[in-house]
């Protein structure tokens, strides 16, 4: 990161104390802190920008935001992906107004500056108006994002030239991600289109809800659970056999019962399908991960990507100021699934976790009120309680990597999310962000390891 982007250190350590278990409410509302989040977190993190399946062919593109920076994600002729700012270097106008499509050129509406699918400046309207020496077209393309890389179909980009690699960023969280991305041969795809909605709440509230807040589900979503499951409330949580796991600020909370999320999707055919492939999943990913799959579970990748493995909603929380975010919702399915199963999953997701979904409908109002109450200057100085399960850390779990806590009702992943938030807010450069969990699977294909206990054997 360009050092001058990181302005004077404000000090953020005092805003979060995960050992005591509290978070200062000002991180959910103050404009100064939000601006620093854009510089220190969004401009230095690996951010999800697209799934491979959204832009399969050369010239396919989509537009999205990295923090509040608008970017174009563009598939190249050689199959690689470039990500560049959606802003003309001449006067700054957008050069693309569509959500997605296929284009050979992105042309600015203002003065007709035209860029190819790699973002290079190709020409402009009435080019003769520039004298020799006025402009070097080769240096006036759309600004490229420093790094683009992908993990099993998910394309990430990072503005920070000094960033660690994507593999280092995801670290051992890859072991968990395989449950979603690699549970069947062929990998995943997103269903076409995208549902976007706007919620007047701080972006972190959505992320922390998915990273670890199983606790809210049984209460907030009692009505949704009963609607989807013949009047039955949420299944009771087995506090012995359920966990929080956190790596580098990413987190996954999960049971081991294998069915909870599948039942909530409300689609018997989908349950049948997964039960059919589960034995193969166990061979592919090991016993533990095949049990995690389908259980009541939720997960987020730091800073702003979330999903429910088993229910198959896949979503990103785009910050729009401290008081607002835009939620993009997709459906993630396995490529190998027959069309009718993909269709069943898509309908089930939109019935549960679309804006009109029986679960989603009750979340927005909570998050909005958690944010807007902080308009009060006295209210915003009150600390929030994050101590649930603070003494339940499991040291040296034989199978599960990461910072592991027992009991799905827990604030552990949320605490570790905010620890990573502080770590990034404080770190002068990306290399200074501490590892709270030293990677054990560095350079290895995590799919091949049923768990930490398989490491000595070198995988299956």
């Amino acid at each position: 990161m360009n050092a001058n982007l990181i302005q004077k250190t404000m000090g953020f350590n005092h805003l979060v104390d995960i050992k005591e278990g509290w978070v200062d409410r000002r991180i959910f509302c103050e404009q100064d802190i939000y601006e620093q989040e854009l510089y220190r977190i969004f401009a230095r993190s690996w951010l999800f920008v697209a799934h491979d399946s959204q832009i399969p062919n050369p010239g396919d593109f989509l537009t999205t935001t990295m923090g509040e920076d608008g970017v174009i994600v563009s598939r190249q002729k050689d199959g690689s992906v470039k990500v560049f700012l959606n802003s003309c270097p001449h006067r700054g106008n957008k050069v693309c107004f569509a959500d997605a499509g296929n284009a050979r050129r992105f042309t600015c509406n203002y003065h007709g500056w035209s860029f190819d699918s790699a973002g290079s400046l190709m020409g402009m309207h009435e080019e003769y108006c520039y004298d020799p020496g006025d402009i070097d077209k080769s240096t006036h393309g759309l600004k490229q994002v420093a790094h683009v890389d992908s993990y099993k179909g998910l394309i990430f980009a990072n503005f920070d030239p000094d960033a660690r690699t994507l593999e280092e960023w995801l670290g051992d969280f890859r072991w968990y991600l395989d449950i979603l991305l690699d549970n069947e041969e062929g990998g995943t795809e997103l269903i076409g289109g995208c549902i976007k909605s706007e919620i007047n709440a701080n972006w972190k509230l959505g992320v922390e809800n998915f990273i670890g807040d199983a606790y809210h589900a049984g209460w907030t979503h009692d009505s949704g659970a009963r609607a989807m499951n013949n009047g039955e409330p949420f299944p009771a949580v087995d506090m012995e056999n359920s966990f929080h796991a956190s790596v580098n600020g990413h987190g996954w909370e999960f049971g081991l019962e294998g069915m909870g999320d599948l039942v909530l999707l409300g689609r018997p055919k989908v349950i049948e399908y997964y039960q059919k492939i589960r034995p193969d999943m166990a061979k592919r990913l090991g016993e533990m991960r095949s049990k995690i799959f389908g259980s009541v579970a939720s997960a987020s990748i730091f800073p702003n990507l979330s999903f429910l493995p088993g229910i198959s909603t896949f979503r990103q929380w785009h910050p729009k100021g401290p008081w607002k975010f835009e939620l993009k919702t997709w459906v993630i399915v396995n490529k190998a699934m027959p069309d009718d199963i993909k269709d069943e999953i898509t309908k089930g997701v939109m019935q549960t976790f679309g804006p009109g979904g029986s679960f989603e409908m009750d979340d927005g109002e909570n998050w909005e009120n958690c944010t807007t109450v902080n308009r009060g200057v006295v209210t915003r100085q009150e600390r929030l309680h994050y101590r649930c399960g603070i003494n339940r850390q499991v040291d040296d779990h034989p199978v599960l990597p990461g910072l592991v806590y027992r009991g799905q009702y827990n604030d552990a992943n949320q605490r570790n999310f905010y620890q990573h938030w502080v770590d990034m807010m404080e770190a002068p450069t990306a290399k200074d962000i501490p590892y709270r969990w030293e990677p054990k699977f560095g350079g290895l294909e995590t799919r091949d390891f049923p768990g930490l206990d398989g490491l000595e054997k070198g995988g299956k």
């Binding site: 499509g101 289109g193 709440a201 009505s223 609607a227 309908k347 939109m350 409908m361 979340d363 927005g364």
Partner: protein, 178 residues
Amino acid sequence: MTNGPVQAEAPSIELIMSLQQVLYREARLMDAERYSEWVEMLADDLHYFMPGIETRYRRDKTDQVGDTTRMAYYNDTLDDLKKRLRRLETGTAWSEDPATRYTHLITNIEVELTDQDDQFRVYSNFLAYRNRNERDQDTLIGNREDIWRRKGSSYELLKRTIILKQNVLLSKNLNVYL
């Protein structure tokens, strides 16, 4: 949405009037959250569909309305819709208590005959206003294309395609039927 040609055989005034009344009655039931009565107006083989509409260039031929495998707010059978409605009956739908206040305005009603004697295509526009708590409010505007089927002395909704004019839904949820 289809744009049928002006028909040689026009629907009768009586038919137009009776279908208009059906749409108004439906709107009144939705305004009052009288969903059990609304469900009675829906056919067992209902398809209730509201696709998500992306912003795409004119040259882009992606079929955002006709392709029902893409992302949609609603892509429901009658059973699916009943499941959504069941949430309200649980008494624990917290974000509906206090109740949301609704008004549906239905306009631009146009009736067409179809090649099925007992089915009628009905176009309409809607403005659905919601207000809750102190000052939460939003307005949803769009078009609908329906097929209504004669059932006894009245009609039942067989198919509805809703095109909402928002790209980003400017609301925290969609606890409303259109």
